[in-house]
């Protein structure tokens, strides 16, 4: 095939005698120029009524499959039905290409999209999928606890090595980002409090605000959401890729339980890491509040800050914050693992499962936090 600039234009000539059409072609018939000639050729062929085609390809220069396909337009009558054809003049390569082109069969047309119908169907399948997801997640949680208790009865079956390695990955490596973000959030709350409360001349109350909000809500939620974005997606991608490369199948065949090997260590690692990370987040958030109180123009010294904190912020707020973290940990770990195991063969499903995983994890974390808030309120804590 020569480049764009060296194409001889394609010409054709159709002449009919009796029921036979002679197709005389010249020039280059390649992918680069068939686009222009196709409508003309189709129109002229449609106007003719014939039974046989004969080809004279002696003057054809370049010919590729697209060109041969154009020639073969003359052979096709309707769907499936063909005219008789033969090549009068032409070399061996041209004949082979013609044969291939004339023999080619069409596949099914692509499925047409029907906008209204499809959008309705999509709403339907989405609703159905929501309930299926819900049931399957609950089933997965149930299965996890069964396996976990079995393993707790025989602690030697727990893979401590991988638990520790995962704690490093989930906990230790996430500590800087959790602490940095909590610091910023603590600082933002402190400024907000300082601004609002100074209008009442009660800026010292910002200590209460920072203490309660960071301990009770912000540190646990920030940590859980970060872990959902950071580790939950990693779980899904890792396990999903293992599923795609048949590693999961290999494990099952060898006799390893995927729950024991993959899910339980991750859940345990999260269970250890998330409370510690939350605690670090609390420290860093309160530290930020202290810094703003001291240096941010309020003139509350660290000693006064901590004295006030000690006095007004009950230790129960700390426990309320911390007691939620194991729940968040389990939610994040299980959703990540479940979505990973649900990956099928295609790359697309890996992508969509990872998205679903993060969305579900963050959704579940916030929903559970809301449930806890109602619960604690009703209990008067």
């Amino acid at each position: 095939m020569s480049s764009n600039r060296n194409i001889t234009p394609a010409h054709f000539e159709l002449s009919q005698s009796g029921r036979t059409v002679t197709f005389r072609a010249s020039g280059d018939w390649t992918l680069k120029n068939v686009g222009e000639i196709d409508p003309v050729l189709t129109r002229e062929l449609d106007a003719l009524d014939y039974d046989n085609v004969q080809y004279d390809l002696a003057n054809v220069g370049e010919l590729d499959t697209a060109g041969a396909f154009m020639f073969a337009r003359a052979v096709r009558k309707g769907p499936g039905d063909r005219h008789k054809w033969k090549v009068l003049k032409g070399d061996k390569g041209q004949r082979t290409l013609m044969q291939a082109a004339a023999d080619a069969v069409w596949g099914e047309p692509p499925i047409e999209t029907r906008q209204w119908y499809d959008s309705l169907t999509r709403i339907g399948t989405a609703t159905e999928r929501f309930f299926i997801e819900l049931i399957e997640t609950v089933a997965f949680v149930g299965k996890f606890f069964v396996v976990l208790f079995k393993m707790l009865l025989r602690p030697s079956t727990i893979r401590w090595k991988s638990v520790v390695a995962l704690i490093e990955e989930i906990g230790l490596n996430a500590a800087p980002i959790v602490m940095t973000l909590s610091f910023f959030i603590g600082a933002v709350i402190a400024y907000l409090g300082a601004n609002l409360l100074s209008t009442f001349g009660a800026s010292v109350f910002m200590v209460d605000l920072v203490g309660v909000s960071v301990l009770r809500e912000l540190a646990p939620i920030i940590t859980a959401i970060l872990i959902a974005g950071r580790s939950d997606s990693a779980f899904t991608a890792q396990i999903g890729a293992m599923k795609m490369r048949q590693e999961i199948d290999a494990m099952t065949v060898i006799g390893l339980d995927t729950f024991e090997v993959l899910v339980v260590p991750r859940a345990l690692a999260c269970l250890v890491s998330v409370p510690i990370l939350t605690f670090l987040g609390m420290l860093s958030g309160i530290f930020a509040g202290m810094l703003i109180a001291w240096l941010g123009g309020l003139g509350i010294s660290p000693i006064l800050f901590f004295a006030r904190l000690n006095e007004v912020v009950d230790v129960k707020h700390f426990w309320v914050g911390l007691v939620k973290t194991p729940f968040f940990a389990i939610i994040v770990a299980l959703i990540g693992c479940r979505q990973g195991l649900a990956v099928t063969g295609s790359v697309e499903s890996l992508g969509s499962r990872t998205t679903t995983s993060v969305v579900q994890a963050i959704f579940a974390v916030i929903a559970v936090d809301a449930v806890f808030a109602i619960l604690f309120y009703q209990m008067g804590i």
Binding site: M1, R5, L31, G35, A66, T96, A100, W106, S346
Partner: protein, 262 residues
């Protein structure tokens, strides 16, 4: 610009190629040339750098030294447009088929057409179907997704995609690996048939001795970091090198040879 792809020139030529990863030298002073219209088999032990050589020839990796010429043009001296024009003359079948898993087989084949031509959709679809037919897939495969295909069908579909633009050169990376003998034979036949029909130049990386015996005009042996010999099979078999002797003198080779003769 008087750039023209001259088909009388050897489609691909590599001179003095040096490839290395850090201190690890993979190829040194490697010379290799493919003539127009021939099928060349490339053999070499596992880890001898066959795939690296293919990537280098394809331009997926720049060699640390040496020159690669396409149709007589030095690859480094080509402008990006000329480079893409040359690339359209090269089709590749990767080992697993490398089909895009989010598209049907037909859409996969239409990807290069869409990218490099401005044909109407219907015509592209028909051309894609013709390619599907040419590689011996059933017509209903057109609307299937790669995950629905068997290993052999994936390879055929991958081949159809690599042929979409009617390339001059075709690279096949282990085309028969993982196929059953019947499927592998059929694939060998297919390659021979397509070569005749489309006047292809084929570079075939393979471990399949049957494929070597039945399809290749020449066999190139990659050993000791360079192409030790690239010649017709009998001459390669007579070549005095321990690895070559072991490769072609083993029981598998003898079996394939007798099978090929009968």
């Amino acid at each position: 610009m008087d750039f023209k792809i001259d088909k009388t020139q050897p489609p691909m030529e590599a001179r003095g190629i040096l490839t290395q990863f850090g201190a690890h030298v993979v190829h040194e002073n490697l010379n290799f040339r493919i003539e127009s219209g021939e099928i060349v088999g490339l053999v070499g032990g596992s880890g001898s750098g066959k795939s690296v050589l293919m990537n280098t020839l394809l331009g997926l990796k720049e060699p640390e030294g040496g020159v690669i010429r396409y149709f007589g043009h030095n690859r480094r001296e080509l402008s990006p447009e000329q480079r893409s024009e040359v690339n359209n003359e090269i089709g590749v079948l990767f080992q697993g088929g490398a089909l895009f898993s989010s598209m049907t087989v037909r859409e996969n084949i239409m990807v290069p057409l869409r990218e490099h031509s401005d044909l109407p959709d219907k015509l592209m679809r028909e051309l894609a179907d013709m390619k599907i037919h040419m590689v011996g897939l059933p017509a209903k495969a057109a609307t299937l997704y790669p995950s629905d295909l068997s290993g052999g069908m994936k390879k055929r579909a991958g081949l159809a995609r690599s042929l979409a633009l009617d390339p001059e050169i075709l690279f096949l990376d282990e085309p028969t690996a993982g196929l059953d003998p019947v499927g592998a034979n059929a694939f060998d036949e297919l390659i021979l048939g397509l070569r005749d029909a489309m006047n292809l130049t084929v570079l075939l990386i393979t471990h399949d001795l049957d494929t070597l015996y039945t399809t290749c005009d020449r066999v190139a042996v990659l050993v000791d970091k360079h192409i030790a010999i690239a010649d017709s099979l009998p001459k390669v078999q007579a070549y005095e090198h321990p690895w070559v002797q072991e490769y072609f003198g083993g029981p598998r080779s003898r079996a394939a040879l007798t099978a090929g003769k009968t």
